[in-house]
């Protein structure tokens, strides 16, 4: 248990520290790259919770995919790179107050909630079980997501084709 606690605090520190860089860095590139350790810290917490499949997907999609997409967009945007962006304005005090209030609320909630502990064994969390779950109880959600993805794909192809024809 000590090991898990140590791992959790280390991962949380990594996530929070790089999250602060993402939010406050005046350089867009630094913000985008600091997303990688943030996402990897969350991945580590998934692994601590025995959710290996979600962890793998998190690295593949977010750290390896979305971050690259963001970097690409920043690099292709004129003036987006190397520019120092001001990250604060006159509303900084209000924002800090609201954030502090929300944080206090969450901490109070987490402290008061009676967390259910040791209720039986964990359900098996293998890729096979996840697949059964997708095609069984959650079929409608799964199909809905796939329709959304299909629409996105068709949209992307349409946009690309229009540009090629002009």
């Amino acid at each position: 248990m000590i090991g898990e606690a140590v791992a959790f605090y280390v991962l949380a520190a990594i996530t929070l520290a790089s999250g602060v860089v993402v939010a406050t860095s005046p350089n867009l590139m630094h913000s985008a790259i600091a997303l990688v350790p943030t996402l990897l810290g969350v991945t580590g917490i998934y692994i601590l919770l025995n959710a290996e499949f979600v962890a793998g997907i998190q690295v593949l999609i977010y750290a390896g995919g979305i971050t690259v997409l963001i970097l690409f967009v920043i690099m292709l945007t004129e003036g987006g790179t190397g520019l120092r962006v001001r990250q604060r304005n006159e509303q900084v005090a209000i924002a800090a107050a609201v954030s502090a209030a929300v944080a206090a609320l969450f901490i109070a909630l987490a402290g008061r909630t009676p967390w259910a502990q040791g209720a039986g064994t964990l359900p098996s969390y293998t890729p096979g079980a996840i697949g059964q779950n997708f095609l069984g109880p959650n079929l409608l959600l799964f199909e809905g997501t796939s329709v959304v993805l299909l629409v996105t794909l068709v949209g992307a192809i349409l946009i690309a084709r229009k540009e090629a024809g002009e």
Binding site: G3, E52, G65, V68, F72
Partner: protein, 326 residues
């Protein structure tokens, strides 16, 4: 197992994987590359250092260790320095799930994850981030172009690789690399999935940025691409990352299609190494035989040929597994 034993095991494993990859993949790989290229071009290759030039890359490494670190003016120092760590690290992480052989006490793998091939795909996708960081952090137009090309290329070729991984996982009924090897004890998947194997080889060549898909570091256009500005040991670390990734891809191909450690008479690790080096030789053979593609041909090849083919192959395999085999 107490947690500090786990932590110690992780540290020892990291050191073992790092030194093995540095010596076997990077040093020996570079030597082999130079020897094979020399042989294909009717030259001799390195001969002077050590017996038959065997110590050439060792000498090169020592030379690189002594060199000065040059950071270009106006480069972004933080990104420039950290990109060096990410590329080899992502390549080294791949080796966690590679089963090198089998012993009396079970398979010789650092950790048999139940998401094995997914883990491999995830860690190898992290390399793109390091390459983009190196390209951008160098503040050099050639490096930036190389980095952007590499990102476009690797993102495109991850899709056929992913589809091939799914196809093989379907056949084996598992994502774990050890199970995939065990299932192939009678029939290697190269026999039942020749199309997948060819798609994987083509996509892996592109994924590790080697000729004929080495647009990223096309010498005639981009100097050395994303690592043009790196000197000394930093340059060597990029080479380590590149060769480490190539060996990892070859090891994955052996695991998925060539029956991993299976083979008669010889010990399992020896069989694994024989197959690994045979594939590495194929990679080198291809590199020194074919000319380079253009970037649009390269992307079209992935999106208009490899991905539809891999999808079709996946559907046919799924039909076979679900309908015919039942």
């Amino acid at each position: 197992m107490p947690w500090y034993v786990e932590a110690l095991r992780a540290v020892v494993g990291t050191i073992v994987i790092f030194s093995a990859v540095a010596v076997v993949a990077a040093m020996f790989g570079v030597l082999l590359e130079r020897k094979v290229s020399g042989w294909i071009q009717s030259r001799i290759g390195p001969t002077h250092v050590g017996p038959r030039g065997l110590l050439q890359t060792l000498a090169d490494t020592i030379k690189l260790l002594q060199k000065e670190h040059v950071v270009p003016g106006n480069a972004d120092p933080a990104i420039f320095a950290s990109a060096v760590v990410i590329v080899p690290l992502a390549a080294l992480l791949d080796y966690v799930v590679v089963p090198f052989g089998t012993t009396r006490w079970g398979p010789l793998v650092f950790r048999d994850l139940n998401i094995g091939v997914l883990y491999f795909a995830a860690t190898s996708s992290l390399i793109v981030v390091g390459i983009l960081m190196a390209g951008w952090g160098s503040n050099n137009k050639y490096a930036l172009l190389g980095g952007l090309r590499s990102a476009a290329q690797m993102v495109s070729y991850e899709i056929p690789i992913g589809l091939v991984l799914i196809t093989v996982a379907l056949l084996a009924g598992s994502l774990s690399t050890v199970t995939i090897v065990t299932v192939q004890s009678h029939l290697w998947f190269i026999a039942s999935q020749p199309v997948s194997f060819l798609i994987f080889l083509a996509a892996a060549t592109a994924e590790v940025n080697r000729a004929p898909f080495d647009l990223v570091e096309a010498e005639s256009e981009l100097v050395a691409g994303y690592f043009s500005e790196y000197t000394g040991m930093r340059f060597a670390l990029f080479q380590l990352g590149e060769y480490g990734e190539m060996f990892a891809m070859a090891a994955l191909a052996v695991t998925l299609f060539l029956g991993g450690w299976h083979g008669p008479v010889l010990p399992s690790v020896v069989w694994f190494l024989i197959k690994l080096y045979a594939l590495i030789f194929v990679f080198m053979w291809v590199r020194w035989t074919f000319p380079r593609f253009r970037i649009d041909q390269l992307l079209n090849f992935s999106w208009k040929f490899l991905i539809p083919l891999a999808l079709l192959n996946l559907v046919v395999t799924a039909f076979f597994v679900m309908v015919v085999r039942r």
